[in-house]
Symmetry: C2
Subunit: 282 residues, 2 copies
């Protein structure tokens, strides 16, 4: 993945829910403090209040930003909405860009992964998880500017090691994408990053069960678990649905909706070593 | 669909979540007051507390009950779990039975519909929606014993009329079924019954968007909306996702998780007339 440098232009976009303008402004200031020139979102409020704008406006903003003279595109917030605008984006025609987002933006990571664009799953500049969290900021900056590509964290769940392309993100959106126009299982030997927020154990079970029944896990060679904020105690359901897959699992790795979350690449080959608690881009 | 008669034997089963034993007992008493002989569930509590028993135990109970000398099988409760046991049921080999359930049991209705077995989407004897609701009880009894096959209710949303096989149920489970081993779109010209409980507008949007993107609505010729209990104000999201489909829609029809809910057949041909507010088996 290309690194960012001081002086690079970047665009903030709103493909999902609306972010607080004050948060977006604060997040943009952080990015400016890294030496970036920042263009902020342009979509207008719309009838459905959980969307930042109409599907057409969010898609147009995304495509226009992506195709403008920028080095990177940052999503300001998740929430919900990418599933509604993704079919309006000409994925195959997009030039290479650095891309940052997480949560609902999992949908866009999968689309970019399918056309061979690596991305960064990390906290978004219009959210408290970024604006109010200097550690998470520093960890994103280290990936984008310094090329940090190895992480040591977490708790072993199922021992072992695996190599493969990093895929995944928010489980609810991975499940909600099943059956869509371009949906497909990960490539053979993938390493899946999985996290979620606000899904009670029975809901997480339903989500993981949909992915299991759709064959999503069949090519997966290893799993790295992130945060399960507001999900209650999901250890039993994670064990029940994932431990029987016969692949190494590293738990509690610290990405997603948590303090000091790691920013991690998707769409690049990596090595997982559960016993050493390491994930390394190779 | 075959009607029930006094003296018929029926079985209660737990394919999903655990029901309160006192509720199951009360529900069984209601069925006995209809002249039915009632066998109650046999599954044992299991590690995951939102499931009535292990997947294997729930599937075995279901198959054993279905293949025993009974006229009907009633699910005691929904909650969650049918998605986990449905792949363990030999759907094509089941003899004809009257079948009653709703909510999570939507998964089993779809399986039975796919093998040509009509079913009844109605309140379940281990839930308060049945035990504490004499109107809902009487409405289920009228379908099962008297062959009531026409209903007048609701509020027109999109005018028009349609004929087709009744399909659907709980939207979250319809969406969670997408991509499963036997999943397919409804047959051409289907009339979809849709309801849900406890899904906030953005979640309902995600659910309906998954169904739209998977093509589930493509063969649908008409829609009947039930209750949206605990979902907040979903009128805007329903209008946004469904009104553009170009099919007649009858809203607020009164089935699902509501007081005095109608019991409605699935898997049988029916005529929907939105202007007359009628749904009639034909």
């Amino acid at each position: 993945m290309t690194l960012l440098r001081r002086g690079d232009r970047v665009a903030l976009v709103s493909p999902a829910g609306p972010a607080l303008p004050s948060r977006v402004a604060a997040g943009a200031e952080v990015l400016r403090s890294w030496g970036l020139e920042v263009a902020t979102p342009v979509v207008e409020p719309w009838a459905l209040p959980y969307l930042a704008g109409s599907d057409e406006a969010r898609a147009a903003e995304f495509v226009d930003a992506w195709c403008s003279d920028v080095a990177a595109v940052f999503c300001v917030r998740g929430g919900y909405g990418c599933l509604r605008m993704t079919d309006l984006v000409p994925w195959k025609d997009l030039p290479p860009r650095v891309f940052v987002g997480s949560s609902d933006v999992t949908v866009l990571h999968a689309e970019l992964g399918a056309v061979g664009q690596p991305t960064v799953f990390g906290p978004m500049p219009g959210t408290a998880d970024f604006v109010d969290d200097p550690v998470a900021q520093a960890r994103l900056r280290a990936v984008l500017f310094d090329g940090v590509s190895s992480w040591t964290a977490g708790t072993p769940v199922v021992p072992g090691a695996a190599r493969g392309v990093l895929v995944g993100g928010n489980t609810a959106l991975l499940a909600a994408s099943v059956g869509g126009p371009r949906w497909e299982r990960p490539a053979d030997g993938a390493i899946a990053l999985l996290e979620d927020v606000g899904e009670e154990p029975y809901r997480l079970d339903r989500i993981l069960t949909q992915l299991v029944r759709a064959g999503w896990f069949e090519p997966v060679a290893g799993i790295v678990l992130g945060s399960w904020t507001g999900c209650g105690d999901v250890s039993d359901v994670l064990a029940d649905r994932l431990s029987g897959l016969g692949v190494p699992i590293l738990g509690d790795f610290g990405f997603g909706h948590c303090a000091g979350s790691w920013s991690l690449p998707l769409g690049v080959a990596a090595a997982l070593d559960v016993d050493a608690r390491t994930l390394t881009v190779v």
